[in-house]
């Protein structure tokens, strides 16, 4: 729907508008956006895969805690994280003021391209981590043991048996962070990197150029397709392997880290410091700046209402997204072909589209065809589903791939119908991925801002809109309370649904 909206708007633009928009240094911006997406994807894999390995397959002290820490940065909206990191490490940030007695006048610049790569990696690697950790847990370790028995070194055995089984999760995760980066506006604008999405926002914003924005939106769709094609190339030849996978959950051997324990701990604790502790500390610092005044009750009641709004809209978004993701992922895994691939491409392009495009597209259609839906909670939920469905599809798909189809065949052979077999055999086996998918959508929708602002029912507030309301008048101290509550609200389901069941089932298997 947003895409056809873009077609209508961009199609209505004259040739001059096209030329003017496309000539304005666009190739450079496009190249920069693609490079940023690529580097962020690679960076997230480099952080997330070792991390997942450490918590699932090694004897790292405090594994459960680190498993939680690996996923937790997901609770911090990347724009809040970027603000907080700039506040802490900017040329005249908090760190500089602490170092001032030692004669440090300015810190090195964190604004710019490399700063944006680092910040985006810090706040998107959990997407890869969650998918890969879930995959690690359901990997069939007997193959690896067999390979060791045949005389392979641990690394050779891992590479030959386990890594291929993780591949689709790694790629799905990297794809999510690459597309997130393409569609990100907050981080790049705070760190002053000119990307495609920033250009789209500028055109909807101060430039008041809707046609130009639509043209750029279409080009952005094209970039998304390119990323998808690359993904398809990487995964080619993987389909056969996926069919043989067995969902075995027997005890896995834990690798003894030995003298690697200290570097491993250093790695996870440093990442956690920057992705989690520093932003939280800065938020707490801002909140403390308010002190105690008479407005606490108002502040809390606003935040309470917004929390309800957030949980309701995002929760419905997560449920509907998973409901749509299951059949799509099932088709992709069990009946691959041209049509499912097309569906997948369309689904994924919604993810990289800037939120404002999705929102204005829905505005355009709803006001013309379904006015009763306009500015209702339902339409907001639709927007969340359009934007975040790929997270659910990615997660459900990679867990379905590890469900052996012969189990479904066995169930059908025993007289179960196709749907019954799906419901009673496939869904329970793929459950970790389904829950992870629902959680990803829930957590991302909680943080969504641009589409929420346009589509929310008038007067409806969410935690993200509360944060925006205060940052709009650049009052970071007032923004800190809803931001911290947003973090807390996200942390609860993350703990309940992703970390705890996972460690409980691994525990049962040991």
């Amino acid at each position: 729907m947003p895409i056809s909206y873009l077609l209508i708007r961009a199609g209505g633009a004259g040739a001059d508008a096209w030329r003017a928009t496309l000539e304005s240094g666009l190739v450079e911006v496009a190249a920069r956006s693609m490079l940023l997406a690529l580097l962020v994807a690679v960076g997230t894999v480099l952080v997330a895969v070792p991390w997942a390995f450490l918590v699932v397959r090694s004897d790292l002290p405090g594994r459960r805690g680190w498993a939680l820490a690996g996923a937790l940065p997901l609770v911090i909206p990347s724009y809040v994280g970027a603000f907080a990191l700039v506040g802490a490490f900017g040329p005249r940030g908090l760190l500089q003021s602490m170092l001032e007695p030692f004669g440090v006048e300015r810190l090195p610049e964190i604004h710019g391209f490399s700063g944006a790569v680092i910040v985006l990696v810090l706040f998107t690697y959990p997407y890869v981590f969650l998918l890969v950790a879930a995959a690690f847990r359901s990997v069939d370790a007997s193959l690896e043991r067999a390979a060791r028995g045949l005389g392979r070194t641990p690394w050779q055995a891992f590479r030959a048996t386990t890594l291929p089984q993780l591949r689709s999760s790694i790629v799905a995760g990297a794809l999510l962070s690459a597309l997130y980066t393409l569609g990100d506006f907050g981080v790049v604008s705070i760190l002053r990197v000119d990307t495609f999405t920033r250009q789209v926002y500028l055109r909807y914003g101060p430039l008041l150029d809707r046609e130009g924005a639509a043209i750029l939106g279409l080009v952005l769709c094209l970039l998304t397709f390119i990323v998808l094609v690359i993904e398809r190339r990487v995964l080619r030849g993987d389909q056969q392997a996926s069919r043989r996978r067995v969902a075995a959950r027997d005890a896995t051997d834990r690798v003894r880290l030995g003298r690697w324990t200290v570097p491993a701990l250093l790695f996870v604790s440093l990442s956690t410091t920057f992705a989690l502790l520093v932003p939280m500390a800065v938020l707490a610092w801002w909140l403390a700046g308010i002190g105690v005044d008479g407005a606490w009750l108002d502040r809390w009641s606003d935040t309470f209402v917004a929390t309800g709004g957030s949980v309701l809209a995002s929760g419905l978004g997560a449920i509907v997204a998973v409901a749509f993701a299951l059949p799509v992922a099932y088709l992709l895994v069990r009946r691959p072909g041209r049509l499912p691939s097309m569906i997948e491409a369309v689904v994924y392009s919604g993810y990289a589209l800037p939120g404002i495009v999705a929102a204005l597209g829905l505005t355009f259609f709803a006001t013309r065809t379904a006015f009763w839906l306009y500015q209702t909670l339902a339409l907001l939920v639709v927007a969340y589903v359009i934007r975040f469905l790929p997270q659910a599809v990615g997660a459900v798909r990679s867990s379905l791939e590890r469900v052996n189809p012969s189990l479904e065949h066995a169930a059908r052979g025993l007289g179960a119908g196709r749907f019954t077999a799906f419901r009673r055999v496939t869904v329970p086996l793929a459950l970790p991925g389904i829950l992870a998918g629902a959680m990803l959508v829930f957590l991302t929708a909680l943080k969504e801002l641009p589409a929420t602002l346009v589509l929310r029912p008038t007067g409806y507030s969410t935690l993200a809109t509360e944060v925006w309301r205060h940052t709009a008048v650049s009052d970071y101290r007032e923004a800190a309370l809803p931001a911290l509550v947003l973090v807390a609200v996200s942390a609860v389901p993350l703990w309940l649904l992703v970390i705890r069941p996972a460690s409980a089932t691994t525990g049962a298997g040991d």
Partner: protein, 358 residues
Amino acid sequence: MATSRRIALRRASGTIATLLVAGLLAAACGDDDTATTTAKGEDKGTTLVVYSGREQELVEPLYERFEQETGIKLDVRYGDSPALAAQVQEEGDRSPADVFYAQDAGAIGSLGTMLEPLADDTLESVDAKFRAEDGRWIGITGRVRALVYNTDEVTDGDLPESILDVTDAAWKDRVGVAPTNASFIAWVSALRLTSGDAAATKFLEGLVANGARTYEKNGAIVDAVAKGEVDLGLVNHYYLYEKLGQDAELPIQNHYFADGDVGNLVNVSAAGVLASSKQQEAASTFIEFLLDEGQHFIVEDAVEREYPLVQLDGLADSPRYKDLPALAGIKGPDVDLSQLGGEVAKTVELIAASGLTS
């Protein structure tokens, strides 16, 4: 194994259900709040939908005062002014909005004939240069471009007489600008209209050569000046008071340029009534309220200290404005605000070409 999964699933769906119910309850609480505060409006049965590009933090008390005094209920939709303008344009003539109150003349001007011309006696309460030529929007508050500076780093005597002097070598690496911000773009348009494109390009390239630091918004510039990241910032005058309201000790102050300097552009926040609105009368009441009570509110209560545009008794000598130059005394460039909207595209092209945005 299957049992443990089933338990996990049951537990998970239990949690989700609990969260949703909790969310529903909290959201319902919110509805209750609005229902009670607006009970009065139901007597008259009139509800106006206001799209407010002006921030909730600033105007919410004013809107509440309107509801209490008129009994007309307001459904306020807050957003960024240009995004709200784009939204109204996509909604077309089915827009639920009755009134649009925007941060700047550009955003509201982009709606063109989607706005209904205002009544003559409403228009006449405001100086002709602060309203649309075709009478479709009217300025509510005035704001002046100013130079915010760090009082620890800069002494008053060193401050530039003209905005064009901030490209001098003395200010190398010390100036902050927000090149994509609507009010900066409007100012560059004013520079082009008064001094020509060549002068504007020269100034923009001078900023780049002088190592000006760029920011996304005016508020971020004032923050940076307060921290000493830069020493001067090109901003609107009222951001200073927002910041000082949060922390009165900050070492920041506003500087205005010499009389007649192009740096002293006066711009407005503005409101208009949608032509598609079925409540023209109530909408006009709202606009009139902004031009009456709203002016008192701006002067007496708002942190920002914007300028009132209507000359009402008792407003002129408010003690809160003793540090500010009087609006009538500010000599800036002579430009037509209605014209600025049409210049945006060309101005942005010049800004991009100067390299300031990359």
